[in-house]
Amino acid sequence: MSLGRVAAIARQDLRILRTDLMAIVPLIVLPLVVMPFLRPAFRAAFHFGGLHRATGAEQVVPGMAVTFGFFLVMNTSSSFFREHMWRTWDRLRASAAGPAEIMLGKLVTPLVEFAIQFVVLFGLAGALMDLHVRGSWLGLGAVGCAFAVFLVTTGVAVTAICRTYMQATATVTAGALVMAGFAGALVPFALLPPWAQAVSPLVPSYWAMQGYKHAIFGGKPVLLPVLALLGFALLSGLLAAARFRFDDHKLGPT
């Protein structure tokens, strides 16, 4: 294992990201656009529920972070599909970089993207929208780290399963909406129908929302959500390990 080669692959993907920043628009810009529209409704919902000090940011910031965070799955997957589309995948595989180095190098950029999203949404947007973290910033960061690991391992699993870029896009888009719905990211969890609330703990994004909310409101530990997210990440990782074939031929966007 050469850290130099891992770093070279990571740098290359960062160069690509720098050249085409559109990849992070869905992660960062779209939530910023949507948040101001949703915050008043969430504030009203919290006030109706008796939380009179709530600003609505406690729901809208983590909710949008979770909903749009799923685009990280697509970004992770895209970094593999585009190598196939550009016919550079075999060149990369024939280079001195081994499979583990390629995989690790490819995961760095999505994690950097997640870190940017986390800082912008919870830091900047939080400040602009009166988000008060009454629990722990450290806990918030721990949930973010666990969620990021889940998202990138899921990105690799999606790449392993899908043969074409369109299949990956459709899978991630559908998955993101369903998961955001069950997580209580689109509407507060308490307003979900009982059957959805019963199913929610089976959905990874539910634990991300719970973790963020525990860290924001305080009073409850984030350990269980973090462990749950790492457990889902392990499942995604196992699926990816079982199905990912470096010599598969993938089809990029047509």
Partner: protein
């Protein structure tokens, strides 16, 4: 440098390699010829570590590719058949990436980038995005990305495809110079005339997954490169009683071995033509060459047309 022994590789029901043996020494250029589907690209992929052989042994610089794939990969530079570059990155960043993967660090990396860019006439294009290059420029970059690494073994799969005449000559000269500096080169091509221009020391002809003959151009021509009488008809001839070794180059073009005197062979053939139902349009004598070797070796195969 490269030793391939008894390598087999099958894809489902297709046997792509069927016991290939091949050596390439340091400083040597070996040209690999074969009709479409003969297994050239599969052999290159197996040597480059892109796919595992079902059976057999490959050693790169003495390293067993199965036992030490990571070490083996460091010995090889692959320029695949299809152009593969990062279109949204600059020529410099494309070169830089493959230099970094080979472990080059500044300032050596930047020096090599300048050197290789100059050699491939890309010096003025270093800041240009890959997608804005012409087909020939992209192809040159594609090959330069590997040459930059100065690997002990270069696997070059049809690197001159789509390259103009001037750039092709430049590229062949450069490959020759790399071999002169000690790199072993396995060069797959469809262009027989390139082999002489390249100064390939040996030629190996791959047919249905096996190396059927290998040697210097002179050895092959001496052993198999007999003269041919080439007959071109207005349509496919029928009912001709032709001597063994006759090759259909095209539907209406036959090459008949001219054993002994070509003039006698041509006269004998002329006597049989009235039964063919086709009109003879052209008759010519083909002198011994690598092409005649190739055609005689591939005669009778389903892909035995021109390489």
């Amino acid at each position: 440098m490269l030793k391939v022994r008894g390598v087999h590789k099958s894809y489902e029901t297709v046997r792509a390699l069927d016991g290939v043996d091949l050596d390439v020494e340091r400083g040597e250029i070996v040209a690999l010829l074969g009709p479409n589907g003969a297994g050239k690209s599969t052999l290159v992929s197996v040597v480059a570590g892109l796919c595992r052989p079902d059976q057999g042994e490959i050693r790169l610089n003495g390293i067993d590719t199965r036992a030490h794939p990571g070490l083996a990969r460091q010995q090889v530079g692959l320029s695949p058949q299809e152009t593969g570059i990062y279109p949204i990155l600059s020529v410099r960043d494309n070169l830089r990436f493959f230099g970094e993967l080979a472990g080059l660090r500044r300032p050596e990396l930047e020096r090599r980038i300048e050197e290789v860019a100059a050699a491939f006439s890309l010096g003025g294009l270093l800041g240009r995005q890959g997608r804005k290059l012409s087909g020939g420029e992209a192809r040159r970059l594609h090959t330069a990305m590997i040459v930059l690494q100065r690997s002990p073994l270069l696997l070059l799969d049809e690197v001159t495809a789509g390259v103009d005449v001037q750039a092709r000559k430049q590229l062949l000269d450069l490959i020759g110079a790399l071999a002169g500096r000690g790199s072993a080169v396995l060069y797959c091509t469809h262009y027989l005339h390139e082999i002489e221009a390249l100064g390939a020391q040996r030629v190996a002809i791959l047919l249905e997954g096996r190396v059927v003959i290998a040697g210097s151009v002179a050895e092959l021509v001496g052993a198999l490169g007999g003269s041919f009488v080439e007959l071109r008809f207005d349509r496919q001839p029928a009912g001709l009683d032709l001597p063994p070794g006759t090759v259909a180059v095209e539907e209406n073009v036959l090459r008949v071995p001219a054993e002994g005197s070509p003039a006698v062979a041509a006269a004998e053939l002329a006597g049989r033509l009235d039964r063919s139902g086709a009109t003879l349009r052209e008759i010519k004598l083909v002198q011994p060459s690598l092409e005649s070797v190739f055609l005689s070796v591939t005669a009778g195969t389903s892909n035995g047309g021109p390489p």
